[in-house]
């Protein structure tokens, strides 16, 4: 049994413990302990029934902790040592865990950490490594999050919107560290899509698959950023693209558009173009218009200006920037690109340099610095 199969069992096992009377925080701790023991013991001595093994070990761990806590407080253990019999509706439990871990009262970074641990079955150490913080800090972040939602029970209705935001955040965190967070986000979104019937869940899954399909072509040697127009399209994963497009089409047919479906539609149009010059920018602008109506987001307005620049020419793109906040990250990069297309190389070089100073990531900064250098060379020639 490999680690990912083991991790898939984690939310269901937490659900079993909660149904037996454990509170969520203690159940989650007990299952994390059982998980760590399983990771150590199973390679040499795999159990016949992995889920039963986890339930048994976690339940004993929970009882030990509850007894220790009770004796510390001089009280009796409130839960029965012998679990009551009864069916465990595992799928509902898992869905509810998503809602609980992404509860709107939690700061995003805490909701992300808790989701990765309780739903994703990652260890605290793995999550800490993925986010480049000490394990002790991550442990505190998770236990604080659990204290914050301590009054909530698994059977309360949840907000799917916050769950999707959390999964999107995990996906966008990318590929750093020992844990592939993008792949993990896809796994968790796939699982969520199997548990719900919401077109936006499918939309988010399609969006992730379509971006994941371009993963290897997005970076060159040494982590160098390769812009969409220059990517080697023969390296795009056609299987993932086909799957993403099918999922998106099914979702769109439900006629309940949302921001993730609209974003996925834009990604699908890019994936559909055999070369950058064959991109259907007119349709992409239409999807940005939809996206803008749905979100009103200034970042969408900025990206829309790029699409308008491609569809109707750089002057139209610059005009579409009117009313966009120049303080946005990538604003200077977008204006630099549009000015270059419009033939104003001097202005473009200045703006690329300005954009590189405003970049929020190293590959982006290096890319923009190279762009500034490239345009300055064109000026000299």
């Amino acid at each position: 049994m490999n680690e990912s199969l083991l991790r898939e069992l984690v939310p269901a096992v937490i659900g079993v413990l909660v149904r037996r009377g454990a509170d969520f925080a203690s159940a989650e701790d007990a299952v994390q302990d059982a998980l760590i023991r399983a990771l150590a013991a199973w390679p040499d001595d795999p159990p016949r029934d992995p889920k039963a093994w986890l339930v048994t070990v976690a339940w004993h761990r929970f009882l030990d902790a509850a007894r220790a806590e009770a004796s510390r407080r001089g009280r009796e253990v409130a839960v029965q040592a012998e679990p009551p019999a009864g069916p465990a509706p595992a799928t509902d439990d898992t869905l509810r865990l998503y809602f609980l871990c992404a509860h709107s009262s939690l700061p995003p970074a805490s909701a992300v950490a808790l989701t990765l641990r309780a739903v994703g079955g990652l260890t605290t150490r793995q999550i800490a490594a993925a986010y480049l913080v000490p394990e002790a800090t991550m442990a505190q972040r998770i236990s604080r999050a659990k204290r914050k939602i301590a009054g909530l029970t698994l059977d309360q209705p949840g907000d799917l919107g916050t769950v999707l935001r959390v999964l999107y955040l995990v996906f966008n965190e990318g590929y750093g560290g020992s844990v592939d967070l993008a792949a993990e986000a896809i796994r968790l979104t796939r699982q969520l899509a199997a548990l719900t019937d919401e077109p936006e869940v499918a939309g988010l899954l399609a969006l992730m698959l379509l971006h994941h399909a371009r993963r290897t072509s997005r970076t060159g040697p040494g982590g160098r950023l390769v812009p969409l127009a220059e990517q080697d399209r023969s390296r795009w994963d056609t299987g993932l693209i086909a799957e993403g497009v099918t999922i998106l089409q099914t979702a769109l047919a439900r006629d309940r558009l949302g921001e993730y479906q609209a974003q996925a539609a834009i990604a699908a149009l890019h994936a559909d173009a055999r070369s950058a010059s064959e991109t259907d920018w007119v349709q992409i602008v239409e999807w940005y218009d939809e996206l803008l109506l749905l979100t009103g987001s200034p970042v969408v307005r900025l990206n829309r200006a790029v699409a308008v620049g491609e569809a109707d020419g750089p002057q139209a793109g610059l005009a579409a920037l009117a009313g966009v906040d120049p303080g946005l990250p990538r604003y200077a990069a977008v204006t630099a690109y549009l000015h270059e297309r419009a033939g104003d190389l001097a202005r473009a070089a200045e703006l690329y340099a300005e954009a590189s100073r405003a970049a929020v990531s190293v590959p982006e900064r290096d890319h923009l610095t190279r762009e500034a250098a490239r345009v300055r060379q064109l000026l000299k020639a």
Partner: protein, 135 residues
């Protein structure tokens, strides 16, 4: 989002409180200052926001390459430099505002007579990994 809070021995805007050099303080004042820093880091670990903290000796030097086959050139210690870093703390927080709030609290570390020293701290965002979805 990760931020670096930089503490300087010298440099930055003019101090608003003349707290002198720490070696001129009483031992109790020094202890109180050090304890404040430790408590601050411990509190950030509690909130899940602490990443790293280190102090730097004022000793050391600038070093540079001086050509093939030649030893590196050194310049220092830094008696003359205008800017001298004393140490740092790395925090992982939700926003720039939270980073500023924490740096403000750290700047209230006690100095002579237990009064806050109002020290200028430099707060700088980390360059992160690029997001997956960009268009």
């Amino acid at each position: 989002m990760k931020y670096l809070i930089l503490k300087h021995y010298r440099g930055g805007p003019a101090p608003v409180v003349d707290y002198g050099s720490i070696d001129q303080w009483t031992p109790e004042e020094v202890d109180a200052h050090v304890q404040f820093m430790r408590d601050f880091a411990a509190r950030l670990e509690e909130t899940g926001e602490f990443v790293d903290g280190q102090a730097l000796s004022p000793q050391g030097a600038f070093v540079r390459y001086d050509g093939e086959g030649r030893p590196p050139v050194t310049d220092g210690p830094f008696a003359e430099t205008k800017d001298l870093i004393a140490g740092w703390m790395v925090i992982d927080v939700e926003s720039w505002d939270r980073a500023v709030q924490l740096a403000g609290e750290l700047s209230a570390a006690p100095g002579p007579r237990g009064e806050p020293i109002h020290e200028w701290l430099e707060v700088r965002p980390f360059l992160a990994e690029p997001p997956t979805v960009t268009e």
